[in-house]
């Protein structure tokens, strides 16, 4: 461990650092919206800490405000988070050998940012050991998780005084785009991304966030297919 070990935490933290710029505003906005909906401070913080998945939290709070049935609220939130099952499958081969408690912690911290940043690192540096990969992963969350909790709290306290002009709603699309850009590194990746965009826009009418799951499957199949074709042609 020692020096080398800290190095991987630090590398991960550096890679995660830019996202405080967007996770902060997103947390802020969640604090504001949840409070306006009528959740008290403890409830808002409990949700932000236990769920730690912004998009689903917004969906849940919005449905609570509309007095939707509890089961509908929970299932909608879970549908928004189904993409994380794909993250889980994708990261499992890299950290599957870790101890149970480490895998539990990884699962808790498996958010869009930690996943996308880490998987890029793992693919560029396949020689890393499981423990190095874990340290890098947890490192990415060192800046992100505290900012998420704290900014939610500031949102609760500062409340509606944040002007709409700041366009905080757009922090999350910017985050995802910033995560996508560096991953577009081969023709199969690009093909998958294009299919993902087109399919999601065409399928948006589907209920329960199914459009996203279907679009993602089509895009994965496209990426794998194009990769296979290129390989076959070069062989």
């Amino acid at each position: 461990m020692s020096k080398q070990g800290h190095n991987f935490y630090w590398q991960g933290a550096k890679a995660g650092f830019p996202f405080i710029l967007v996770v902060g505003p997103f947390g802020l906005l969640f604090g504001v919206v949840a409070t306006e909906t009528g959740l008290d401070t403890i409830q808002t913080m409990a949700m932000t800490i236990l769920v730690i998945a912004g998009a689903s939290q917004f969906a849940a709070v919005q449905l609570l405000a509309e007095n939707a049935p509890v089961l509908v609220v929970i299932l909608t939130g879970l549908a928004v988070n189904m993409r994380m099952a794909m993250y889980s499958a994708s990261i499992a081969p890299h950290i599957g050998k870790a101890d149970t408690w480490q895998r539990i912690l990884t699962a808790y911290f498996l958010v869009d940012q930690s996943y996308a940043v880490s998987i890029l690192k793992y693919e560029n540096s396949p020689e890393l050991s499981v423990s190095e990969k874990l340290r890098y992963f947890f490192g990415t969350m060192i800046p992100i998780a505290p900012i998420w909790y704290i900014s939610t709290y500031i949102g609760i306290v500062a409340g509606a005084e944040i002007p709409q002009k700041f366009a905080l709603d757009f922090a999350i699309p910017i985050t995802f785009l910033a995560l996508v850009g560096p991953s577009l590194r081969s023709f199969p990746h690009l093909s998958a991304a294009i299919v993902s965009v087109v399919a999601s826009l065409l399928l948006i009418w589907m209920p329960f966030n199914l459009w996203l799951i279907v679009a993602a499957f089509l895009a994965m199949m496209t990426g794998a297919y194009v990769e296979k074709q290129l390989e076959t042609n070069y062989d």
């Binding site: 830019p18 710029l21 967007v22 409830q43 409990a46 949700m47 236990l50 689903s56 939290q57 609570l64 405000a65 509890v70 609220v73 929970i74 939130g77 988070n81 993409r83 994380m84 099952a85 794909m86 889980s88 994708s90 499992a92 081969p93 599957g96 050998k97 895998r103 539990i104 990884t106 699962a107 808790y108 940043v117 002009k165 366009a167 757009f170 699309p173 910017i174 985050t175 995802f176 785009l177 910033a178 995560l179 996508v180 850009g181 560096p182 991953s183 577009l184 990746h189 690009l190 998958a192 991304a193 993902s196 999601s200 826009l201 948006i204 679009a215 993602a216 499957f217 895009a219 994965m220």
Partner: protein, 107 residues
């Protein structure tokens, strides 16, 4: 909306989300996955994130679903910087700056 409802949602969503995240990490463990599956999983990030973001860019909720020049510009800048310079920091900065800049020009 009662206190009880809110707590049921918080706990249900919390536990359910954890189970989703733990699913494959917990089950697969250190078992080898078949080659075809690994080939598909390689494309998870580029399969999920662009689809997630596309409707938010084209039909932003903040403008009641109307396409918005500031948000379209910001999205293009963020994607471009990320793709060309492989810099997430640059993409985040560039995107948000473009958003505020165009907003201040148009409104």
């Amino acid at each position: 909306m009662t206190d009880q409802t809110v707590w049921i949602v918080i706990i249900g969503l919390g536990i359910g989300t954890f189970i989703i995240r733990y699913s494959f990490i917990g089950i697969i463990g250190d078992k080898e996955l078949p080659e075809w599956l690994v080939r598909h999983l390689r494309y998870v990030p580029v399969a999920v994130l662009p689809g997630l973001v596309a409707p938010l860019v084209v039909w932003p909720a903040a403008t009641n679903g109307d396409a918005d020049p500031a948000r379209l510009t910001a999205a293009t800048v963020a994607l471009f910087i990320g793709a060309v310079f492989k810099s997430t920091l640059g993409a985040v900065f560039g995107g948000m700056s473009a958003l505020y800049l165009v907003q201040n020009i148009f409104y």
